[in-house]
């Protein structure tokens, strides 16, 4: 069972924002779903992946990419060719 306090904590970690009025319903649904997930407690096995593929690497060479102008087109706030973000401090 997770509590409303824990759900609020998770919402904070995920930057999801939650109103106090929603907390009860979110918590109730959360618990129903987590109860169902408990079936995973019975899973047996080592989970070792049988796979004959390997990573494909390439040389780090500079290639054409999105123009700065295009990359900024969808940003609502920008300044001097950069996106403007909320303050960190």
């Amino acid at each position: 069972m997770v509590t409303e306090k824990e759900v609020q904590h998770i919402a904070g970690l995920a930057d999801i924002g939650i109103n106090t009025g929603e907390l009860g319903d979110f918590t109730a649904r959360f618990n129903e779903i987590l109860d169902y997930f408990d079936v995973l407690d019975r899973v047996q096995g080592d989970g070792k992946v049988a796979c004959d593929l390997s990573n494909v690497m390439r040389d780090d060479i500079v290639e054409p990419s999105l123009l700065q102008e295009d990359a900024l087109k969808n940003a609502a706030a920008k300044e001097d060719g950069f996106v403007k973000a909320p303050r960190v401090m």
Binding site: I16, F37, K84, P86
Partner: protein, 434 residues
């Protein structure tokens, strides 16, 4: 390149489209002049792409997804962007921020989801073909509910470059159309290697469907006809498999014991991946402006609370929880073991059969508003998620009606044998003359 244009002004009474391109340019080619609808989570340069979410309202991608580039090169006219469950999170298309799509077969019912707009657009004859995406059944479910054909290709067969990610390890873009021939034709255009998708596999699709299935062995898992599967749906699907036997195939009973864990493994995995993928939607680089005067946590929380729908917020939180310290071992790690067990079960069954068949969905299309709690909605995905967890190809082809609504026959195949599932669906379709 675009020498021509088509006029596309559909009577969209089903709310299948979020954006329509009234004058759609195209060139000559394999799909020359064919109107193709594209699900709204696939990037289209210059055409608004929202994932049916308020958080991306007004977003105009500066580049095309790989598959959209291929569509344009083949001569297809990108006719519009189709409605969906927000970010692909749903089984009904009711989770769209822009209102639900209605099922053209019965407008009091949902079209299925999450590619419900694509399915409805094809079923209503507004377009001949559409692209959907399938993370846990999102192509096959609406195909089954609307009575059309939809293919989830083998993982890696179609590039995901430019697909706005929900759960990378599970999702594939795939073709939807009224018949198997057109699904195969669209697959010819979109499949193949793309180095911009690191999971892309170099295996183009050049196949033309063949209806010869003599000697084919079909595995019929008992779990696909068990508890929770509607009797009418099970009966019609069994009849369809019998029809395949009349065409020269042999049906063999089999079992997928790991299915017991499939749904939980799927939801833990997809929500975990979503919690990471959807962190990028913060109103800074795209979408509505975050208040830059506030601290970043406060600003992001405000934007995300106001602009994400309830189900999206729920899944981001579930994923954050499943990955959090103290719970990772209980949820995410176990889900990955279960996933590998499912893959092993399929591998074992496929050592003795060529394809596996069963219903696509446990019921026919729900009534609008019928599935009000999330868990009962999740449970409807039980027959489609195994193919995503295993990365194998799976197709849904119409096989009759129950309660007056379409039922889909699902054919799953070995990895990279998309051709074979297409052939089996084609053989069935040709035999019954759909």
């Amino acid at each position: 390149m675009a020498a021509h244009e088509i006029t596309f002004e559909p009577d969209d009474r089903y709310n299948a489209f979020l954006t329509t391109c009234n004058k759609a340019p195209h060139c000559d080619g394999k799909l020359g002049g064919i109107a193709v609808a594209v699900k709204d989570n696939i990037s289209t340069q210059g055409i608004e792409t929202t994932c049916a979410s308020k958080i991306l309202k007004g977003y105009i991608p500066p580049y095309d997804a790989h598959v959209v580039g291929l569509l344009r090169q083949s001569g297809a006219a990108v006719a519009g962007k189709t409605n969906m469950d927000e970010f692909g999170m749903g089984t009904t298309t009711e989770n769209s921020a822009f209102g639900p799509t209605l099922n053209p077969c019965d407008t009091t019912r949902v079209p299925g989801g999450s590619s419900g707009g694509s399915a409805a657009a094809v079923a209503a004859g507004m377009v001949r073909m559409a692209l959907g995406t399938d993370t846990g059944g999102s192509i096959r479910c609406p195909a089954a509910f609307c009575g059309i054909v939809g293919l989830k290709p083998t993982y890696g067969r179609v590039s995901r470059y430019g697909l706005i990610a929900y759960a990378n390890s599970l999702e594939q873009i795939g073709p939807m159309a009224k018949n198997v021939h057109d699904v195969s034709l669209l697959m010819q255009v979109i499949a193949g290697h793309d180095r911009r998708d690191t999971t892309s596999y170099a295996k183009p699709y050049t196949h033309t469907p063949s209806a010869d299935i003599k000697g084919l062995k079909i595995g019929v898992p008992q779990e696909y006809f068990g508890e929770g599967v509607d009797k009418g749906v099970a009966e019609i699907t069994k009849r369809a498999i019998f029809r395949l036997e009349e065409l020269g195939a042999t049906a063999v009973p089999c079992s997928i014991p790991s299915m017991e864990y499939a749904l939980a493994a799927y939801y833990v995995t997809c929500t975990s991946e979503a919690s990471s993928n959807l962190a990028r939607f913060d109103g800074v680089r795209y979408g509505p402006a975050a208040d830059t005067k506030r601290s970043w946590h406060d600003a992001y929380q405000d934007v995300r609370r106001a602009r994400f729908g309830t189900e999206v917020r729920r899944r981001i939180m579930l994923g954050t929880f499943a990955l959090s310290s103290g719970y990772y071992g209980k949820y995410y790690a176990k889900a990955q073991i279960a996933r590998e067990n499912i893959r092993k079960d399929f591998s074992r069954i496929f050592s003795g059969v060529d394809v596996i068949a069963g219903p696509t969905m446990p019921t026919v299309a729900f009534r609008l508003g019928e599935k009000s709690d999330p868990l009962s909605m999740y449970l409807a995905d039980i027959l489609t998620v195994p193919a995503n967890l295993a990365g194998i190809p799976a197709i849904s082809v119409p096989c009759g009606k129950s309660e007056g609504m379409p039922v889909g026959l699902q054919i799953m195949g070995k990895p990279f044998e998309d051709e074979r599932v297409i052939d089996v669906a084609y053989a069935y379709e040709q035999a019954v003359g759909l």
